[in-house]
Symmetry: C2
Subunit: 362 residues, 2 copies
């Protein structure tokens, strides 16, 4: 077992924004809260899925809402631990470890805050291997873990619990509660046994994200220089492929909050202004990249926009007109290329009328 | 203590539509379900508020949603009793009696279904003395009863619970859940002791509604003939005033579902086509009647539209172009003319920039 201490937080936050593919919520405030929690309660134990008892009780925890809201509606420092405590009271059972909904963005850090406050380990892994906008897209749900009993808490301590049979219905209920509570809540859901976690988790992503953050930090500089070290780390991971697919300037970007999601599009022109621009469709995350009618990369593969000069990944809610950027595409974990997974994450699930073609075949 | 049996249901349904002032949900399906419940479990005991033990545990129960939806999304026969059972499990305490949110419309009947199924009494009284669109407008909330713990169930058995401190926040949460669950749910909320109920209930409205329905049935016919018997029954009730304020034909009616409510306006012209028409603003209920700029009646007083030929009250979701109608105005119970009540039910709470003037002073 490893421990996550203060020295890991900057790299974790940086790596998680890369894996967030534009969504997942800005990690700045969650990082500050995690720092506070670790200073108060000490380092957090990281437990490998394989090291969990089969009958351990694990609950994933994270924020639900529109990433734009996470810039303004801040969670309280004790919201994550109080959510776990309220969840334990609701189900009448102690939680042995917490896990992440998604390794991307702020949701990689929320479980650390809960784990520190409660003195329990956090699982090295997550439910997406990236960030995706809806609960039924989590590997836990795809593998058949029941979404409820679930508990949600807002910044003011208001609580709701949910009981339903399908994650699709749960997603509708929790999303509407997030909107009614101001746009962002903390939830504990998809609770499961250690045995269930082992067959549903995307493993190792928390330690991978720290390692990825270190690579980004040590190779800070123009995007071309990042490509080789990124290809090396992804090649020996569950992701595989990493390609540098575009470089240029953001000439248009617009998102609106629709049904609790940030929905919109960003347009990037080459620096020399020649050729067709790259258009990337957004629903919280960067989901589909096209040049004219040609698909460059699509969900569930990862599309990542980084600052051209520094290689720092940029979340969709921070992306602005005039940003000089590079766009990377990364293969998704094999789990997300299975028929069960593609049924809920293929491009058509997001309204794009195309078949999924794996990155390396495009 | 009295009992409510099958012989009371038609009158109760009829009286409750009059007191619903256009909203409250259509009672047709709730009446059929109540009939089924009473046939299965026997008559329901009606208990006067004063007869309750001070430490009895009472929970109001009813439907929450947009009345238009109640015509299509039908509750299941056992939804009300199952909601009480789930509520008891949630709070860890047996419910001694159920009460109504509002005597208007289908919500006068839902507690009877729960009471029959559970074999417990229903309180003779309600939380509005009419129908009103939002939870914080209930006399229970105005008198300081906490809205939560609350439990909601949909037709499919999906459940949610809520924990919050103010009814305004609770209203936002429960309304969003109703929309996410398809537009109509059954909820148990504002649970209280017998002592709390005695100081917060609008008393006697369930037996009054049955009596009112009998008057409407026995005097079925043109609206002018109804006026005298209606004035007699209201004069000896908590309502007082009853006036016949307009007769004519519906020449325009439009509502949309906005934020979970039916919102719109109906326009009624005199039969002779002379003079300005009466315009009535709707938010689930008929809230404000104006001829040109002159206010004829306004919330919290009751505005009731009945069929001109039969005197049968017509809910807003059933009102159509061409309906020949009469419009009655009825004074509200004194409770709703107190400053605490007017703070949440005066015309400005519905977006009308006018002061409340009691009916008898207009």
């Amino acid at each position: 077992m490893k421990r996550i201490d203060l020295s890991h937080l900057d790299d974790l936050a940086l790596g998680s924004v890369f894996l967030a593919t534009g969504g997942g919520g800005d990690p700045h405030v969650p990082r500050l809260i995690t720092e506070q929690a670790i200073k108060t309660y000490g380092p957090v134990t990281l437990i490998a899925p394989a090291a969990l008892d089969d009958d351990a009780f694990i609950v994933p925890i994270g924020s639900v809402g529109a990433p734009t809201v996470s810039l303004e509606l801040l969670p309280s420092v004790d919201e994550a631990a109080r959510t776990i405590e309220a969840f334990e009271a609701h189900v009448g059972r102690k939680v042995d470890a917490v896990a992440s909904f998604e390794i991307g963005g702020g949701n990689s850090l929320i479980p650390l805050v809960a784990a520190a406050g409660k003195g329990i380990p956090v699982v090295d892994g997550d439910g997406m291997g990236r960030a995706l906008p809806e609960a039924q897209m989590m590997s836990y749900a795809i593998a058949g873990v029941n979404p409820t009993p679930a508990l949600a808490m807002d910044y003011a301590g208001n609580q709701a619990t949910f009981q339903t049979n399908t994650t699709e219905v749960y997603e509708r209920h929790i999303r509407s509660f997030a909107m009614a509570a101001g746009g962002m809540i903390t939830t504990a859901e998809h609770a499961m046994s250690g045995a269930e976690l082992k067959r549903s988790v995307i493993p190792g992503t928390l330690s991978f994200s720290i390692e990825l953050g270190r690579i980004l930090r040590e190779n800070r500089g123009q995007a071309e220089g990042l490509l080789k070290p990124l290809q090396e780390i992804f090649a020996r991971s569950i992701y595989g492929q990493c390609q540098l697919v575009f470089q240029g300037k953001v000439v248009d970007k617009a998102t609106r909050i629709v049904g609790g999601y940030d929905v919109g599009e960003v347009t990037i022109e080459r620096f020399d202004g020649l050729g067709d621009p790259l258009k990337i469709s957004i629903k919280n995350e960067y989901l589909l990249g096209k040049i004219d009618d040609r698909v460059i990369a699509s969900v569930p593969d990862l599309i990542v926009i980084v600052d051209y000069e520094t290689g720092t990944p940029i979340n969709a809610e921070r992306l602005r007109y005039g940003h000089r950027v590079a766009v990377f595409a990364v293969g998704c974990p094999d789990f997300y290329r299975t028929p069960d997974a593609l049924r809920v994450v293929e491009p058509r699930c997001f309204g794009f009328d195309i078949d999924y073609v794996p990155l390396e075949q495009l």
